[in-house]
Subunit: 254 residues, 2 copies
DNA sequence: CGTGAACTTGACCACTGTCAACTTAAGTGG
DNA sequence: CCACTTAAGTTGACAGTGGTCAAGTTCACG
């Protein structure tokens, strides 16, 4: 289902990039044009991409959640990252040629379809945007490293607390939280696949967090009443999200 | 200790890049010049970088092994990747401004010190090399995803088998294996920190692998007598290493 | 109001961690 | 070249975090 989505309501991307880079007026306009590409919608649980796919275009999420995942041959699924509004789905396949993981919609999701050609043009014409896009990929890699630390060294309790804060922080950066609560479409099954735990144990652990008064999770809505204590309890340090900087911008990318 | 290492014995990088991109004569020369940058040596267990560092230059490994790692506040260490000859240490800090993880030498290691300025120049002057460098980063991210799958879903036996094959494959791509064996400086402790297992359990698991005739590991030398069976047993599929392609090269990077 | 997905809880169990002692290998200095 | 010393590897006994199985209950939604 192809529809036109001209209204650049898609603040998330511009908002995030603006926070970490100085975008010129021209950059923002080019971005808005990109976001205004033909869009497509997918329903929950639909795969936007499968491992091995050779992408025809690059997709940018305007609205909704998705996840990256990989599966073992026996069919066990590991979620390796969440894709939130303003995230690219397959920038890496753009360079590597094919997907090394799959992407599945979690909510109903709207993605802008960007042709490789228009991305090429954007990159050559707006080096600072190219720079910003690479930063996004690198931040992704940084989040994966933090997940490795979680899966390898943290307890179930810490893993889940940590993940909830990470998602909350990212949503906040995208302007999608309301006070200390936010929409939260993940099922306990999803949380299990992301944390390497069993659904049953996720449930038990969530109960713990609830009893401690650190997490309220009900009807697809998450509330973190005491972020500081939860961060403390789960060993969360925000550095790895590289949210603040405006650090180094170099070469063609400057 | 700064020494000059003019001889571009550093085949690994050129070899790997050549396998995935078409490098012009000029590209190779520029690369060789890069590799010929002043070098520095570090002894085993010495940290080449610490989380939080704001890198002064980019380091390229000519010789030796290192690992990327993160630690929890309680001091538990998770290795999130291995750095082999031909790998960059801190290409990501080049764009992100500061390290989100630490790097530690495993063997005695020699790294070329590349100034941001000369890297800037290389990138602008040789877009196809810039392209290739980004590919390396993306492949790194792909390996991290595979590690997440391992830590989250694979048994101890599979994790270790998988990791051994991954390292063997990467060394082979760098021209550093001899038949079915290679140098292997990791201790069981290192393997534990990389797989999220305890050293004791790594030991038990290696014994299993040895008894199955799939792994011989002695005196810092690894032999994989039956790679096919080991791959089968550990669910190893090489796709994620993106070793073969010469796929898409676009935009300025083309 | 019905039907399936998502969530809960309890009982049981096993993979892996911890602790501790010991053996072997590696590196150092006399 | 051999004591000495420390790191690395090995093994056994025991414990625990988290997995599995299975039976509910609640929720979402047509």
């Amino acid at each position: 289902m192809i529809v036109n989505a001209p209204e650049a309501l898609d603040m998330p991307l511009i908002r995030r990039l603006g926070a970490s880079c100085d975008l010129t007026q021209a950059d923002e306009e080019a971005l808005a044009r990109l976001i205004g590409s033909p869009a497509r919608e997918f329903s929950p649980r639909h795969d936007l991409a499968r491992e091995g796919d050779t992408g025809r275009h690059v997709r940018l999420v305007g609205d909704g959640w998705a996840c990256r995942y990989k599966s073992t041959l026996e069919g066990k699924r590991q979620i390796v990252g969440f894709i939130l509004p303003g995230d690219f789905c397959d920038l890496s396949a753009y360079l590597l040629g094919h997907m090394d993981h799959s992407i599945s919609a979690i909510t109903r999701i709207r993605v802008a379809l960007i042709t490789p050609e228009s991305l090429d043009a954007l990159i050559t014409g707006h080096p600072s945007l190219a720079n910003a896009f690479w930063r996004l990929e690198l931040i992704n890699a940084s989040m994966q490293r933090e997940w490795l630390l979680s899966l390898g060294q943290r307890t179930a309790y810490e893993r889940i607390g940590h993940l909830l804060i990470e998602l909350f922080s990212r949503l906040r950066a995208a302007g999608l939280v309301d006070g200390n609560s936010c929409a939260f479409p993940l099922t306990q099954n999803d949380l299990a696949d992301a944390t390497g735990l069993s659904p049953v144990h996720v449930n038990r652990t969530l109960r713990e967090l609830r009893l401690q008064g650190l997490v309220e999770l009900d009807r697809k809505r998450l509330r973190l009443p005491d972020l500081a204590t939860l961060a403390e309890a789960s060993g969360f340090l925000p550095n790895y999200l590289h949210a603040d900087p405006k650090e180094r911008h170099v070469g063609v990318y400057a």
